[in-house]
Symmetry: C2
Subunit: 499 residues, 2 copies
């Protein structure tokens, strides 16, 4: 058997923690494995100082497009995800136009209030009092929150509002976090304000599954069973955390559960009933049993496409659910709707009964996470390139260096100007501009990495050419930018950190 080139044994250089990929000079044998792999150095893998190929190579593997089928857009995020994130960011930033003579409203340290309700008149909802919802920006930290005003509630017992404190500690991916609550007289009445975290462009399950439509034939199709199980699992998981904290949700209703992402729901408006019904002094165990009943009603309502106010005959609706969905779902909902027997129902028991569906939802969630991290890997490079482009922008063509001998045609820094031409101002044989984003990005990545690749730079008058490596260019960028920073006063040096 001949020499086997596969028999070399080399670890991937980065596994040794001492290796610093950002160091200027690399000695490939200086890592932890140096003595161990010393004899193997004909095969030591030269880990590039910084990768200079295009973008994250770890995309989802399943698609097998040919290289020529890939567009430049593949290097960036899928447009649907980008659009979704953009719209959410935009909704979070939305402000009301200021009107002459009208003071822009604010409540305590919350300013820039924007109403989120789309109703024109306000009838009392499940809280028994009219409520209003806004998004607002906190002056304390600049974050955006959701404010809910309960109109005309007079707080008679100071302890009532302290009930919110237990809710502040609840943090769960399927519960909208409660931030604080306070009373206000800014509306010329006694109002209660509840502050929750804000999820932009979310819809309530009522809006999603029972859209207001004038055409009764355009009713939505049946909800897939998988979605119903997913709702059930997510709300059960939320109830488990809530009940464990000796609280009750009290507001499991299609108008109070919001959809914040595909099939991802969150229980909102928590803690409100704890304050406004504080004086009723109902036992928490009793309220927890009601949570289960309301959860069953919610799933039944969506599964049978029946608005909650039309749900008088639960037995008939259960039969209907059984016809359209599996026996197991019907049983689970029937259990939730049943009166508790000798023992109270518990959320742990519910989760145990749903175990296999919890596992299914867990698998979907893990897959969604993997996909998000893959996208993140692809977008990652862009932040680095923005910083590099900004750096180059500050260096080239500064008016104060017009006529400066350092930038004259014989000096080294002149090359950065020629490099700029090389990157951005390529022309073809007919003198037409070549607009190739791939070329620009690959040049910039190589510059950032400082690779040993050599390029020819030609002066604009074609009289002189330079052969230069990216490594030398990188050093010139660093020294030129360093000179600019030295020109800064001390106070401004702080602001140049971003580069």
């Amino acid at each position: 058997m001949g020499y086997d080139p596969f028999m070399s044994s080399v670890s991937q250089g980065l596994q040794s923690s001492q290796y610093n990929p950002y160091a200027e000079e690399h000695n490939p044998l200086a890592g932890a494995g140096a003595s161990y792999y010393g004899a193997q150095n004909t095969y030591s893998t030269p880990s590039q100082p910084l990768q200079y190929h295009l973008y994250y190579p770890l995309a989802p593997i399943r698609d097998t497009l040919q290289p020529y089928q890939r567009a430049v857009f593949d290097l960036f995020l899928p447009e649907s995800l980008r659009e979704d994130l953009q719209k959410k960011a935009e909704a979070a930033r939305q402000v009301l136009a200021s009107q002459p003579g009208v003071q822009s409203p604010s409540l305590q340290h919350y300013h820039s209030l924007v109403p989120l309700d789309i109703k024109l008149k306000n009838t009392p909802g499940i809280f028994g009092l009219p409520t209003w919802v806004w998004k607002a920006t906190s002056r304390k930290n600049g974050n955006v929150y959701c404010l809910r005003r309960v109109e005309g509630f007079r707080l008679t017992n100071e302890d009532a509002i302290k009930a919110v404190n237990s809710w502040k500690k609840i943090s769960h991916p399927n519960i909208v976090t409660t931030v604080e609550a306070f009373t206000t007289r800014d509306f010329n009445d006694s109002s209660l304000i509840f502050v929750h975290s804000y999820h932009p462009l979310s819809k309530t399950l009522a809006e999603h599954h029972f859209p207001v439509t004038t055409n009764r034939f355009s009713r939505p199709g049946p909800v897939p069973e998988k979605v119903l199980w997913s709702y059930l699992v997510q709300l059960s998981s939320a109830l488990r955390v809530i009940h464990k904290a000796k609280l009750a949700a009290r507001c499991i209703d299609i108008s109070k559960v919001i959809l914040t992402d595909k099939n991802r729901i969150r229980l909102s408006a928590c803690s409100i009933f704890d304050v406004i019904n504080f004086d009723a002094h109902r036992r928490v165990e009793e309220l927890q049993q009601e949570d289960f009943f309301n959860l069953g009603k919610l799933v039944l309502s969506i599964g049978t496409n029946t608005s909650p106010r039309n749900m008088q005959d639960l037995r008939t609706l259960l039969e209907q659910l059984g016809r359209n969905y599996s026996e197991e779902l019907k049983e689970r909902v029937a259990w939730l709707l049943s009166a508790p027997q000798q023992q109270y129902m518990t959320a742990d028991q519910l989760i145990r009964d749903l175990a296999l569906h919890v596992d299914d939802v867990f698998v979907s969630s893990s897959n969604a996470y993997d996909e998000a991290v893959n996208h993140l890997g692809r977008e990652l490079e862009n932040g680095r390139l923005v910083r590099l482009l900004a750096k180059l922008g500050t260096i080239n063509e500064r008016p104060e260096f017009d006529g400066d001998p350092n930038w004259s045609e014989t000096e080294h820094r002149y090359m950065l100007k020629l490099f700029r031409d090389y990157v951005f101002h390529q022309v073809d044989t007919q003198g037409n501009p070549v607009l190739d984003l791939g070329h620009i990005i690959s040049c910039l990545n190589k510059l950032d990495a400082g690779t040993e690749e050599k390029i020819y730079l030609t002066s604009r008058d074609h009289q002189s050419t330079f052969l230069v490596t990216y490594r030398e260019l990188k050093k010139q960028v660093q020294s030129a930018f360093g000179d600019l920073q030295k020109g800064n006063t001390k106070q401004q040096q702080q602001t140049s950190r971003g580069f």
Copy 2:
């Protein structure tokens, strides 16, 4: 009660699907809600054409830093996550240095093989035959895969390798996906090659929990119980999918389970035993029961910090596990290790017993997903800015326009040059350069949005000034870039799509 500015009822503009935030001209009343909200237009919310404030405002809410405490780095990814993703991308791209006279190895359509083993000599592992692992790039689609060679295996039955086909259909976040398997004579023997998806910089549980160390006092501390439950849940979830497909994992071993992210494990090397032990014709039910036993052994081994080859007395080790961890964990492991009674154990049963822990892992997974999407929102803007900066780079200072009247000091496009100075070449009162990344990014975002904000641009000789809106500048960028594109030949226009 006076006029209440809070009583206006306006939906957030983007909820109407007809609204196009990318349109050049906006009529705020043209959306779907126009007739509905027509009377309210004193309060119609002017949704900005494209947001021009800085970056995604939906960061995790919990931290309450003051504005002055935030660094420019807050606008980008956390460095630890960035470094982790960079290192993974770099590992995926690593290549062997080419040696003179040595042909770079390749196998079928896989090229650029890089060994992943760190062992120097190869003793037969759990497969009974020596194996070698590489990463390789597919010539078909450019993706990176993990190749495992089983040395010296002679395939006697063609059906054996077809066993891999069932594995190809298994897709689960805790299983390394099997891609294909083939035989090769490239090593001058009969070798089997298994192709799996590649997870860069992953470690086996053996490497993670039983690191090779010369200092016996530096042994790792006990593994938290939460981690053990998480491993148990993830592998049970994997087994559930595998057993459902009438397969058995057959390789649940600390050397074959890899850690690809924090506490995230994947079962690797699936399908290999199905091929090499094909002739043994063992019943799949029996093999599935062995999976449960091996799973119990794996958790016991990590929980008691005992290497599998030292696990002779399982009963004593179970006692030890019970002393350090909860009774429930001990019971679960004891159940896995027990011989099946009347009925075979099933993965469904296991998941039901683990239900509450499945829920815990589900909550962690959802939180991780939310965090990843938040990061994605922040990185999102950078991709857009790279494209804009590249566009500006191609326009300004082109040598072929030296002396072109369109670019003379009286024409409109001259402003783009002055704008460039305004963005990048700010100086303070002493004439020192101001290097403020915040200024650069905010100017570029406003340019991209084409806002109505006006800026003063001053010529370099301070003789002329222009008052111009970002909207006008944006139009000039578009027309200047359009002119460049017209100069392109048809073939090259395709490559300018990336902008």
